[in-house]
Amino acid sequence: MDLFEYQGKQYFARYGIPVSPGGVADTVDEAVAVAQRVGYPVVLKAQVKVGGRGKAGGVKLASDAAEAATHAGAILGLDIKGHVVKRLWVEHASDIAREYYASFTLDRPNKVHLGMLSAQGGVEIETVAVESPDAIATLAIDPVVGLDVATARRWCAEAGLDEEARAGAADLLVALYRCYTEGDCDLAEVNPLILTPEGRVHALDAKVTLDDNAAYRHPEWEEFRATETDDPRERMARERGLNYIGLSGTVGIIANGAGLAMSTLDVVNQVGGSAANFLDIGGGADAGVMAAALEVINHDPSVRSIFVNIFGGITRVDEVARGVLEALGRVEITAPIVLRLDGTNAVEGRAILAPHLSERLVTEPTMLDAARRAVALANPQGES
């Protein structure tokens, strides 16, 4: 789960990482009120989960209430790469002497944690990474050992951070590492990490991705869930406990297993169609889960056909068949359904569906045949 900047800063603050005083605002009035509270000058920052917001006009400085109101009005509702700004983070503007970069993430090939630190932080860090990779000091951290202050200090020196920043930066890095590990982050990134003219070091931005698998031991993540997605299809699926990702095509997809679901998307694409979603009903899904999955897909107005691709392992195909009938009895499914059923209890499953087959409910013997049929039904003019 990706966090908004303001959520990331709140998360950082839990672990003692210094951030600027600020607050969120959903309206111009709220923005001015927060600005009064934290004191001018303030920075108003669009809260969107996409990069490049500064260049898109989503970050503005204001020195009084009139300016704050003008900027808040301009940023709220702004479309930044398809993300409409609904919320601002307003914080007291910091004086900046130097801008650094710091992050922790998992080094998957080497199966250890990877710290990255650079004295050349700011908006151009990706260019720095490509053009002068030596400007980024990497640190491999054994997850069993962790990161201590002495190591962090040596790392700050190696990265070329200014002398007066090193002590504060080392403490911040240790706190950030603790946030990354104990806070179960996939990514904890600060860009820029700033040094103020007074010699203080703090996080001016926060990019945090949380590991969904760790949600069971973080009840405090519940509030982040509410703002996780704007896609009504994804909200509906989440309420039903389904592993769903909305896409922009016309063929609704239901499969068991993440690999098979991905493969189903690919095959639909290969035969000239496009998937409306990714939906993995998981292993051992029963009739109720199957019915819920069909209901979520049915709710998507762009879906013109539904491809159900099941290879029964732990999942029993007869249960899937019962779920299809349950859904058909419960709601009116508007798009035709194409099923490909194989594996555990496939014969029983096909027998359950046999009396109900029609031009709205068809079966095909293979994944490829079923994909072709579903795409033909979604593109009746024969666009493919």
Binding site: L106, R108, D212, A214, I245, A258, G259
Partner: protein
């Protein structure tokens, strides 16, 4: 022959008294696997359909001589169970648990490497391993596998593993061993471990490899294949149409920036001389064609 497990492998099930452990443990035994004991703290002295249950792995190993463990416990307890297995003398651990936090996996993996270098972990979040006709540890439906070789299978995805077994078996092409390495970010066993074992196994004549988006294990496997593999490899990579930045079900299946795309993996494998196929059916057909020509 086969890799990792065979008819002589003695297996304990950690979590045998739970509903999942019982279901799959008994299914594995019915397949012919030597399931010799279960382990559940506090349930020592009981049994599950004749399989004795012990409080600790060490006790179970002392009593039965088991060398392999099947870990079927919830995510919050899986890491401790894996470490206990290694401490108790188990050398091959299969963990099917889905949903273990990545930080726990990273710590457990490194603990095993540092303290128990002779121990192999398969998974977590994998379907397990089956050497058809000999031994099945995990959740694969044994009836879709066909004994006798000559194909070895290694896969990151559970259902696509079943699909691969099915495509080969229905055409009469058997398997030596089928290994599901799992879809998490820190797998205990990777493609190269399996490719290397298949290369050394005289009965395996060709290998089917099924990858997916995310990480760079497929690219590393491609390098290894180019340098060391003499046997033909057929590959399929899922997720060509997956969007960047969204986890496609598996915790490890995510494209970050330009890294981890299916296209890059397919190109790397093709450059290493691997037969790269566009879908599971095509991969199955290609493998059948290769095996028939052997």
């Amino acid at each position: 022959m086969s890799i990792f497990v065979d008819e002589s492998t003695k297996v304990i099930v950690q979590g045998l008294t739970g509903s999942q452990g019982r279901f799959h443990g008994l299914r594995n035994r019915d397949y012919g696997t030597q399931v010799v004991a279960g382990v559940t703290p506090g349930k020592g002295g009981t049994d599950v359909e004749g399989i004795p249950v012990y409080d600790t792995v060490a006790e179970a190993v002392a009593a039965t001589g088991a060398t392999a463990s099947f870990v079927v416990v919830p995510p919050a307890f899986a890491s401790a169970a894996i470490v206990e297995a290694a401490q108790g003398g188990i050398t091959f651990i299969v963990c099917i648990t889905e949903g273990i936090p990545a930080h726990d996996e990273a710590r457990t993996y490194n603990r095993l490497v540092e303290e128990f270098p002779g121990v192999r972990l398969l998974g977590p979040n994998c379907p397990g391993v089956i050497s058809p006709g000999k031994c099945n540890i995990g959740i694969t439906a044994g009836e879709i596998a066909l004994p006798g070789g000559p194909v070895g299978i290694v896969s990151r995805s559970g259902t696509l593993t079943y699909q691969a077994l099915y495509e080969l078996s229905r055409q009469g092409v058997g398997q030596t061993t089928c290994v599901g390495i799992g879809g998490d970010p820190v797998p205990g066993t990777n493609f190269i471990d399996c490719l290397s074992a298949f290369e050394d196994d005289p009965d395996t004549k060709a290998v089917m490899m099924i990858g997916e988006i995310g990480g760079s294990e497929e690219e590393r496997a491609a390098e290894w294949i180019a340098a060391h593999m003499t046997k033909p490899v057929v590959a399929y990579i899922a997720g060509v149409t997956a969007p960047a930045g969204r986890k496609m079900g598996h915790a490890g299946a995510i494209i970050s920036g330009s890294k981890g795309t299916a296209q890059a993996k397919m190109a790397a494998l093709a450059a290493a001389g691997v037969h790269v196929c566009q879908n599971p059916t095509e991969a199955g057909e290609k493998m059948v064609e290769l095996v028939r020509a052997l």
